[in-house]
Point group: C2
Chain length 130, copies 2
Amino acid sequence: MTATDDVIGRIRFNEAGLVPAVIQQWDSREVLMMGWMDAEAVRRTLGEGRVTFWSRSRQEYWRKGDTSGHVQYVKGAALDCDGDTLLVTVEQVGAACHTGTRTCFDADVLEPVVADADSARLAAEMGSDL
Amino acid sequence: MTATDDVIGRIRFNEAGLVPAVIQQWDSREVLMMGWMDAEAVRRTLGEGRVTFWSRSRQEYWRKGDTSGHVQYVKGAALDCDGDTLLVTVEQVGAACHTGTRTCFDADVLEPVVADADSARLAAEMGSDL
């Protein structure tokens, strides 16, 4: 059994046989995108130095950059505490998003109510429950 | 219709009515964890200044920090290009992971084959296909 088989054995794939993979630029630490991998896509990603996803819409392997040139070179990887999410750090060539933006999270920035530990402390002193 | 309802209307929830939410520390940009939200958890997260998940294992809302004290204060949020992943930037109090580590990705660091644009160029010159 290879080291990669051992990793794959620790992954808790969902009922469709897939695991979500968060892709992060290794140096700027931007979250670039989230994609899905089956066991074979994980094997290729960990073994080839390039990120491969499983495309749920096209039902095929999708090695990032093969058509766009926007390759993701693998710099590191980690499995989360309960084995159901992968984090892959990469060197992203060009745009990570198929829409042409640097990350997939650039186009729809939301405006949530924000808070921090200081404002929460202040609110508590004023009797609120943030 | 509120702004939050409008956001929720843009989210493509999965067949279980959930969307994955990547949680990132706002300043260090560490990826802390990934959790799941239903529409109500998104509404609370965007409206309360604190992150709330839907716990799939316990089938209940889980406002991060209510029992552990490890609150996640919301600093920003974005929806990805196809509306099926949320990114929430937070101020994390203490450990993000229920195991006590700073992030959920600290415990199982993998050792993938790594590459970068320079090594790929070199390999190409030598006739390989990285």
